[in-house]
Symmetry: C2
Subunit: 203 residues, 2 copies
């Protein structure tokens, strides 16, 4: 039995923080881990801006609910779920992912979560565990599952390398250059074909 | 972050073999593990009947697609997936579950699989692992997830006991008698309330 583990942002939906910055006009929120490598510092900076703008979680979810999955993502995921088992492994927060998961038909997602205050404002973040994507693959392998992993970013490489098989999806040039032996799927048709090949090789 | 692990048959859908026997009129298929404790022997017996009746997997799936989820199960599962993460842990076969999963909106399911011959007839069964429900809970715990498990049968007890919390759902008298300390949910409203209490206790 197989399980396909997919990254979320860049694979099924746009980058959430960047889309959120565009929808709200808060340009300061376009800073990502590429600009600020200290994730803890970056999240404190982001939460500070949200509080300054008096944006509660409900407001943020309202904006996120207007972000749409990538073109073709809904149909791709539907075809994939009819073929095999799928879990989304993401570093985002369940509260942010929720409006997008609704649009994707509530696939199972393992990610992080937010700590809220009594006013519905974000106080801090709660990481599920360190290196959670890789550990999830190890967990699924311990359940007797064949694992396939795919993503587009630096934080996806260890899960792809740990899985029985995997590929990159629409990864940027720098990742492709550094990981020349990983297969690349450029669109959903190709992506589905690579995964089908993996599923059908299960004997 | 939480994950809710649900048994399938008796919890979301009827017992598949019994419903299948009723739909096809093949009374001999009503024998279950209560009558024949040797699972391997029971499956060989069932597969023998399917072959004798010349029922291919496609025929079987066609019959199963006419089995409906239990009354209220679709709405229960939809509400649950909007609240938290859900995975179905079952001892059935993915090929049998598939027409039912479609009706339930493709939740993630971990179960067993069938080995087919070239004619599309079932040849044998392939178990994912021994004691797979319990090991799945252990796997999810290793991913840093809080786990809740629920079911109605003997094969659900070890997963319920291994999880951080759990309950029985519409379990028969003998199970209730043997597991007097386990909570019991009698309908989906009560079931959802017990799970909500668990999810909200996550601090």
């Amino acid at each position: 039995m197989n399980i396909i583990c997919l990254d979320l942002e860049g694979v099924l939906v746009p980058e959430i923080w960047i889309s959120f910055a565009e929808k709200t006009g808060l340009e300061e929120l376009k800073i990502t881990t590429r600009d600020e490598p200290d994730y803890d510092k970056l999240m404190k900076y982001r939460i500070g801006i949200l509080r300054r703008e008096n944006l509660s979680l409900a407001d943020i979810q309202d904006v996120i609910s207007r972000i749409r999955p990538l073109d073709g993502a809904v149909e791709f995921l539907e075809a994939l779920r009819a073929m095999t088992q799928v879990v989304i492994l993401s570093d985002t927060f369940r509260e942010f992912a929720s409006p997008l998961m609704r649009q994707l038909g509530w696939p199972t997602i393992l990610c992080n979560s937010l700590v809220m205050d009594d006013m519905g404002m974000i106080e801090s973040v709660k990481m599920r565990q360190n290196d959670g994507k890789r550990k999830a693959i190890e967990g699924f392998r311990s359940m007797g599952l064949r694992t396939f992993a795919a993503g587009d970013s630096y934080n996806d490489i260890s899960m792809i390398r740990t899985a029985d098989a995997g590929c990159l999806f629409r990864a940027p040039e720098n990742i492709l250059k550094e990981q020349p032996d990983l297969r690349l799927a450029r669109d959903y048709d190709e992506f589905l074909a690579v995964i089908r090949e993996f599923v059908e090789s299960d004997i």
